[in-house]
């Protein structure tokens, strides 16, 4: 992909782009100036809708549509929450944006808030990113000093306050309603939906919750237009994704590529392919929540619809590559441990299901598995499906089922041989 096609990583040349002076010298805040001094909120919303921008956090919901669900009247209070609670295993794009492009994020926050009529925004950052939270706070202070935040921004009559809120180590808070609970000072227990946050969100007020990568795309769309954005992706899903490739590749890293780039091309061309002599076994295409694909299932386009069509999920576009040296039982064990640890404990199917799945997998990995264990796993996973309060239980269920079905032969072999998985 040539540099002209990139959106988020195109201007990364200058050092210290995270400082506002450097950012301004390189054309920063032009989108905010254009939006607040030349555009009404309505046309901005329409432009975002037209761009086909979809959420970058996992669910892939159309961003413009999400904004339009929030009631227009402004006197009752509304909020914008930025989801930077990066925790989906395999994902490291938010770290990149916070480290290099905090002002691009702030621009997106300002434009989104202006378009929806929101006076207060919070960025929820995972607790472990303390140094990045401080970097963003510095950028926010700079934006206040230059008059891009606060009262009557650029004499437009629009006011906006922006605050950083750090989490404290709970994966579940990346789920949007758990994030709201956490922001309100409570445990991260997901809420029942409906009501949806667009109507009843933070402090019971209408709330927009967007992923940080989603908002980082807003300023370029406003500056260069929806057609420009669409020309980089697919007709129904515009732009690029920050594909994070990790695991058994020779060049792990973050690759900004058009939505719809082939999964095989990403792994073998951009990320350098596998080490000599190794064979591809499986790929997780969208963070640990996405069901596994087998080696012969990777000739797909990486856009939300195409990955869903093969029974998985584009999710956070985090690609974890697994080669033939890794027993599938190791992967299963990591997945089982992760969900048993991160289940918030609120609903029974997920709390108990994840615990029993881990017990069963631990027994198998200890060489003590029974012949019926694979079916037992599939039953446990199927009993979570459709019964958990939030997508966490659902994600574990689908991942475990994908392994039980697609790698059944290998699991049977390890049971027969009483294979022990070392940790």
């Amino acid at each position: 992909m040539n540099a002209e096609q990139k959106i988020l990583t195109r201007d990364l040349g200058p050092e210290n782009l995270h400082r506002i002076d450097v950012y301004l010298q390189n054309g920063g805040y032009r989108a905010v100036k254009k939006a607040l001094t030349h555009c009404q909120p309505g046309p901005i919303l329409e432009e975002i809708k037209k761009s086909g921008l979809r959420g970058r956090g996992g669910a892939g919901f159309p961003t413009g549509l999400k904004w339009s669900f929030v009631p227009q009247e402004t006197d009752t209070g509304k909020y914008l929450c930025v989801n930077a609670d990066e925790g989906e295993p395999g994902t490291f794009k938010d770290r990149f944006i916070l480290g290099h492009l905090p002002h691009l994020l702030i621009e997106g926050v300002i434009i989104a808030s202006y378009a929806v009529g929101i006076p207060t925004a919070y960025v929820y950052i995972r607790g472990e990113y303390e140094t990045l939270a401080r970097r963003l706070e510095l950028a926010i202070d700079e934006a206040y000093e230059k008059g891009f935040l606060g009262k009557d921004i650029l004499k437009s009559g629009f006011d906006l306050d922006l605050f950083v809120h750090r989490g404290a180590g709970a994966y579940i808070c990346g789920e949007e309603t758990a994030l709201l609970e956490s922001l309100e000072g409570k445990r991260g227990y997901p809420r029942l939906k409906p009501p949806f946050p667009a109507k009843v969100g933070l402090f019971q007020k209408p709330t927009v919750i967007n992923n940080i990568e989603t908002l980082a795309n807003v300023a370029p769309i406003i500056l260069y237009g929806a057609d420009w954005f669409l020309s980089r992706g697919l007709p129904n899903e515009g732009g690029t994704r920050l594909f994070g490739v990790s695991g058994a590749v020779t060049k792990p890293g973050l690759y900004e590529l058009p939505v719809g780039t082939g999964l095989r091309e990403i792994i073998f061309t951009h990320a350098g392919g596998l080490k000599p002599g190794r064979k591809l076994k499986a790929v997780i295409p969208g963070g640990m929540s996405a069901p596994l694909l087998k080696a012969d299932e990777i000739d797909i386009k990486m856009d939300a619809d195409s990955v869903a069509a093969v029974g998985s999920m584009l999710g956070s576009a985090a690609i974890i590559v697994i080669d033939d040296r890794t027993p599938i039982l190791t992967v299963l064990k990591k997945i089982a441990r992760f969900y048993a640890h991160e289940s918030c404990g609120q609903c029974t199917p997920c709390r108990l299901g994840s615990a029993w799945i881990l017990k069963t997998v631990d027994r198998m990995a200890g060489g003590e598995g029974e012949p019926g264990d694979i079916d037992a796993l599939a039953r446990l996973a199927a009993n979570i499906q459709g019964r958990s309060l939030c997508p966490l239980g659902e994600a574990e269920s689908l991942s475990v089922l994908s392994i039980a079905h697609k790698f059944r032969d290998e699991l049977e072999d390890s049971l027969k041989n009483r294979a022990i998985i070392q940790e």
Partner: protein, 157 residues
């Protein structure tokens, strides 16, 4: 043991409270501030925070125990969190934990008797492109091997 919050801490807490329409919403940031100052959150701290935020002590307790980053007892001066999730594991994350266990004489969750190191196994730290990775307090280190860990331990004085 009871300990009073310093004036500086109280000032920071007041600034934090001003960011939210409800006092309770400041709970996580306030607990971070308390922990930054003292290393952990004691039962006494929980009651003090509850009073400052006009909430019941149980509301603080349930949050302190829900989130893994709040320490209920003093951690070592250097808290080493090693990722053993999938991407780090594929790159040898468990071997790094085993090495640190032997080197420091600790099981995950424990602190050295001199109070210098705490070792914890954690889920994904968002450093998968530099697997295996770990954090020491709030600093990230990636592309680890035994030599790098040895040099890192040496630098932690």
């Amino acid at each position: 043991m009871s300990r009073a919050f310093s004036l500086a801490l109280k000032q920071k807490i007041d600034e934090t409270l001003a960011r939210y329409p409800e006092k309770r919403a400041a709970l996580l940031p306030v607990l971070h501030l308390v922990q930054n100052e003292t290393g952990f959150i004691s039962a006494e701290d929980e009651r003090t925070v509850a009073a400052l935020l006009d909430i019941k002590p149980i509301m603080v307790r349930e949050v302190v125990t829900f989130y893994t980053m709040f320490n209920q007892k003093p951690p070592g001066r250097f808290h080493i969190r090693v990722c053993t999730n999938l991407s780090c594991s594929l790159a040898g994350g468990e071997k790094m934990v085993d090495y640190l266990k032997t080197r420091l004489g600790l099981q995950p969750g424990q602190t050295t008797p001199d109070g210098k190191f705490t070792l914890t196994e954690v889920e994904c730290l968002g450093g998968c492109d530099q697997a295996p990775c770990l954090m020491v307090n709030f600093d990230h280190f990636g592309n680890l091997d035994r030599d790098k860990i040895e040099r890192l331990l040496e630098s932690l004085k």
